[in-house]
């Protein structure tokens, strides 16, 4: 079946293109283990990793707090302008990341400049769509009849939400939260503009690269990638 072989050959270029850099960076770092160990003991790196993990986690939690109710409303209610709301939610995916930073600064200026708030603001803008859409899909998959039956059995609307809808939609919501977390920790462009400080690991990678070159920035990259890939495996 030559056609499929041809296609597979063409297609495997992209597979290799994505897989190769991942393998190469891990392998090269494994050969330069000393540098990795040194990096792990660099207080600047530890501080930056802590900042990244904290802000990404905060972002995921905020996305959940507001995204889950929004997802529920989108799943259960038809209202005028619903498609506009849905469009707005998806907009952050297409806006250039540096522009996101400028937009946020133009709007909130000093309130977010160079602070944890700024990092979270930038992350939230790009992460929220994942949390909202996953919650919506999760609730859409919960049979409305289950809610109806719970109501007739005596549960109020709020009680029904917490004892029926939320637990059943939880897997989808959790995967949305993880995606939001991953999207947050992968963000660089907007954070560079809004909050270069407090320094996050993804910004530190860039700084080390600019100041000390590739060899210095590689170990942090490997650590960050390890975390991201771990999250990714959990997600699957």
């Amino acid at each position: 079946d030559y056609t499929l072989y041809l296609f597979a050959a063409l297609g495997s270029f992209l597979i290799v293109y994505i897989a190769l850099p991942i393998i190469v960076i891990f392998t090269k770092q494994a050969l330069d283990f000393r540098m990795l160990v040194k990096t792990i003991h660099d207080p600047l790196v530890i501080e930056a990793l802590r900042n990244s993990l904290l802000t990404a986690t905060a972002t995921a939690l905020i996305s959940l707090l507001f995204g889950v109710p929004l997802g529920y409303v989108l799943a259960r209610k038809d209202f005028r302008g619903k498609s506009l709301v849905q469009a707005i939610i998806d907009v952050p995916i297409v806006i250039p990341h540096s522009v996101v930073g400028i937009m946020l600064l133009v709007t909130f200026s000093n309130a977010i400049l160079d602070s944890y708030k700024g990092i979270i603001a930038a992350m939230l803008f790009v992460s929220a769509p994942f949390a909202i859409n996953s919650a919506r899909d999760g609730f859409l998959a919960v049979d409305e009849k289950l809610e109806h039956v719970a109501r007739t059995l005596g549960a109020s609307k709020l009680r029904t939400f917490f004892s029926i809808s939320l637990p059943i939609a939880l897997p989808s919501i959790a995967s949305g939260a993880i995606m939001a977390w991953a999207r947050g920790i992968s963000e660089v462009g907007a954070i560079l503009i809004v909050a270069y400080y407090p320094k996050t690991a993804q910004v530190l990678v860039m700084e080390y690269f600019n100041n000390y070159g590739l060899r210095a920035s590689r170990p942090i990259s490997v650590i960050l990638m390890g975390i991201s890939l771990g999250i990714f495996v959990v997600l699957r």
Binding site: D143, K145, L146, H148, V149, A150, R151, T152, L153, G154, A155, S156, K157, R159, S163, I164, P167, I168
Partner: protein
């Protein structure tokens, strides 16, 4: 107990129109209708899930039209049972009790009690996805009855069960009713359920409740053509009657009674007899007809026939189809007894 007063509602593709009926205490009331008649919408209006555009729902003399579902004290069992998939059977049944702030021991006692009646004690620790259709249905009924509702709303309760389970259920249903004494409103498209369970039946067609009454009475005296068609009088012929002869598009049909003027008659397809040769039987109406269509319905075949200006449908078995060698375009003899004719 329950009174539905001129309820109307436009909901999705369904249009309920001016529906009124009442259900007496401890009665098993059946709403019978084809799918798409709006039966589920009506149940959901009574349950408080959908708000009617017009009309009122009265439960035990109280107008509950504006009450939310949780204030109506009734139980609703949808067609797919809607068991909570993330809870065990025990927790499913206990759900309604927990909301009522009853003590743990009391809840436990009630869950065990109803499980015993319904024969599901051995399932209490299982998750719903591991249950068979019949077991799911029992759990759904237990969950509904344990809160001792005023009224049980059943949506096609036996539609997803196999024949054996279904038969056992219908028998047991009667036992449970005696034992627990609940009132039920049951919607279905099954004549069998209507016949074997219904104290009274309401026939619902295209959003209207067209006839309410005793089962046998409804079946033998359909109020109009629509009900007649639903009950199986697929052949409705319009013509002008003179005495006991009806002339319809040039075809003369002998009637069981004497009437005058424009009338309609109904004949069930299963009452029409086909043969390849003319046979003078006790059937008083016999015609030559052309086969214009054949439609298989499982072991039964519907044959469309053309007699002069009118068309008739007849049911024959698949084996008769083969034995008589009936195929399209063939000429056959058609007969039916005058007693099989229903005049409207």
């Amino acid at each position: 107990m329950l009174r539905v007063e001129s309820v109307s509602k436009d909901y999705k593709e369904f249009k309920l129109r001016d529906i009124s009926f009442d259900v007496k205490k401890e009665e098993h009331f059946i709403i019978l209708g084809p799918s798409g008649a709006g039966k589920t919408v009506l149940l959901e209006i009574i349950a408080g899930i959908i708000e009617p555009d017009e009309g009122r729902i009265i439960l035990n003399g109280v107008d509950v039209t504006s009450y939310p579902p949780e204030k109506r004290n009734l139980a609703y069992i949808p067609q797919d049972y809607a068991l909570f998939p993330h809870m065990t059977v025990y927790d499913n049944i206990a759900f309604g009790l927990k909301l009522r702030r009853i003590s743990r021991q009391e809840i436990d006692r009630k869950v065990k009690e109803i499980s015993k009646v319904l024969g599901i004690e051995h399932l209490l620790h299982r998750k719903p996805r591991t249950l068979s259709g019949g077991e799911k249905q029992r759990v759904a009924i237990a969950r509904a009855l344990v809160i001792e509702p005023e009224l049980l709303l059943l949506d096609e309760p036996f539609a997803n069960l196999d024949v054996q389970t279904k038969s056992r259920f219908m028998t047991e249903m009667k036992v449970w009713r005696k034992e627990l004494g609940f009132t039920s409103l049951h919607v279905t498209h099954s004549f069998e359920e209507a016949i074997s369970l219904g104290d009274r039946v309401g026939v619902m067609l295209r959003g209207r409740l067209v006839q309410v009454g005793d089962v046998k009475e409804v079946f033998s005296n359909p109020v109009d053509e629509g009900v007649a068609r639903f009950l199986g009088f697929e052949n409705i012929i319009e013509g002008v009657a003179k005495g006991n002869i009806l002339e319809a598009n040039g075809v003369k049909i002998t009637l069981p009674i004497s009437v005058e003027g424009k009338v309609r008659i109904g004949v069930r397809p299963e009452d029409i007899i086909l043969s390849t040769e003319p046979v003078k039987t006790s059937a008083r109406n016999e015609f030559r007809a052309e086969v214009i269509g054949i439609e298989e319905l499982g072991p039964l075949v519907r044959v469309n026939l053309k007699i002069g200006g009118i068309t008739l449908k007849a049911f024959i078995t698949r084996s008769s189809l083969i034995e008589l060698g009936i195929s399209e375009g063939r000429e056959v003899y058609v007969s039916f007894k005058t007693s099989a004719i229903k005049v409207f």
